[in-house]
């Protein structure tokens, strides 16, 4: 009997010579990158380094002008965008709460969602389920962002993208969201987390991708995470 040959796991995302130019401005250049299947991958870099654009490429909100991106081995450009976005959810920098109640917000993601499931989703992100049918427009920044995460989770995604999702929050709310992300990652949901904060990188990262001027500076999980 032949010995088992170790097979390299399929990466979550793989970028091959990805470039993105908009109006003559190069935002991403020759990005070669592997984002692993497990844990929290933190993408760090200064403002304007292209880290948000890189993240947006992962659910096709941006389309590269060069190179290819794969998601779990499939060419992203071949995946139907709407299906992809339900598999790869995204939370943005500024929480965007739709008009109405938290239940209305959750039903924007899943129109068939019942109130029990809505309560469970609110509890999962640390919100009081009694808030389910109150006006979501009065939520604080931290509550609104947690509602946005609950709304993203309502699509039952495989992967979560987070674009500086604590930068508009006070430190206490940011800590709650960080703990929530860690819990989701520990439960098996891979997260790609964009931040410009080195301190947050140190707290959150299982793997690190550093960007500067649209290029990868380092993508070495072991070195950078320390």
């Amino acid at each position: 009997m032949l010995p088992a040959v170790p097979v390299a796991p399929t990466p979550l995302f793989e970028f091959r010579r990805v470039g993105l130019t908009i109006g003559g401005t190069r935002i991403l250049q020759d990005v070669d990158l592997v984002i692993p299947e497990r844990g929290i991958t933190v993408v760090v870099g200064p403002s304007g380094s292209g880290k948000s654009t890189l993240l947006r490429c992962c659910n096709r909100l941006e389309t590269p002008t060069a190179g290819t991106i794969t998601y779990r081995g499939d060419d992203l450009a071949e995946l139907p965008p709407r299906t992809l976005r339900r598999r790869v959810a995204m939370v943005f920098q500024a929480p965007v709460v739709f008009p109405g109640t938290p239940l209305d917000n959750l039903r924007a993601a899943d129109p068939a969602l019942g109130t029990d499931e809505g309560c469970r989703l609110l509890e999962r992100v640390g919100l009081n389920p009694d808030l389910l049918e109150r006006s979501a427009e009065r939520f604080s920044g931290g509550e609104a962002q947690r509602l946005c995460i609950a709304r993203a989770l309502a699509t039952e995604p495989e992967t979560l993208l987070a674009d500086e999702c604590t930068s508009a929050l006070d430190p206490d709310s940011a800590e709650v969201v960080e703990h929530l992300a860690r819990r989701l990652a520990d439960d098996g949901m891979p997260i790609v987390w964009v931040t410009h904060s080195v301190a947050q990188r140190d707290r959150m990262a299982d793997h690190v991708v550093a960007l500067a001027a649209g290029r990868i500076v380092t993508a070495d999980p072991e070195e950078e995470a320390r």
Binding site: I22, G23, I27, G48, G50, S52, T53, N59, R60, L61, E62, T63, P81, R82, T83, R85, R86, A89, M90, F92, A94, V96, F98, P99, A108, A109, C148, R151, A152, T155
Partner: protein
Amino acid sequence: MNSNTVGWWGLAASLIFVVVAIALTSSFRLGLSRTISIATGRSLVQLLVVGSALTLVIDPDTSLAWSWAWVAGIIVFAAYTVTRRVPQVPNLLPVTLASNVAVAVVGLAIVFGFGVFDLDSRSLVPVSGMIIGNSMKSGVVAAMRVVEASAEQRAEIEAGLALGMSTRQASARFVRSALRTAISPQIEQTAGLGIVFLPGAMTGLLLAGADPLDAVRAQLALMYVILSGTVVGSIVTGLGTVSRLTTPAETLRVTHRASR
């Protein structure tokens, strides 16, 4: 000749009001004097040319085909005018053409099919102009508001897209608002009919010596057709604009990129 016919001296006299308007805008330093002068000159030349051409087209000996050709010209020019106001939207001309054709077919079928007016060159050209012209105005507003909303409300639209919504679903709230903005003036105009103002066709008929009730019936029929044309034109143009702004990756084309 009807006693209310405006002669050349009458027309020249009406220009006194333009001089008053220029004097007022100058005194308030609104910077509009040149614009008013150009607009007045353009309207004078355009309408004189159109009037001369209409004289030929509505001649009883001229084939009705020329009037239909004129209507086709109105449809194309109005469609092109809408696209010029929203140059950010690619390939919108087929949408605005389709919108105008739909409005014209429905409107003219009602007006002439139900015998509101007799189908002749004297009625076909001006009725088409009124229906399509009003639809064009609301189409411009609908397209512009959709383009503005796609930039101003980008965060909310992208939040919807990120949940797997289509661009139409994600922008539905703003498209509805754009359509309301485009259609509302025509509703207000219809509601204020007779109380606030006497509309153009009725005024024209009264000046031409028609019986007031005949003029009212003609005007009401036209207003109802114009109202429905405005609704059809706004919806087709508004939804068509969203469709044209949608990329193959199901995002909305960036019309004003803010930052990366």
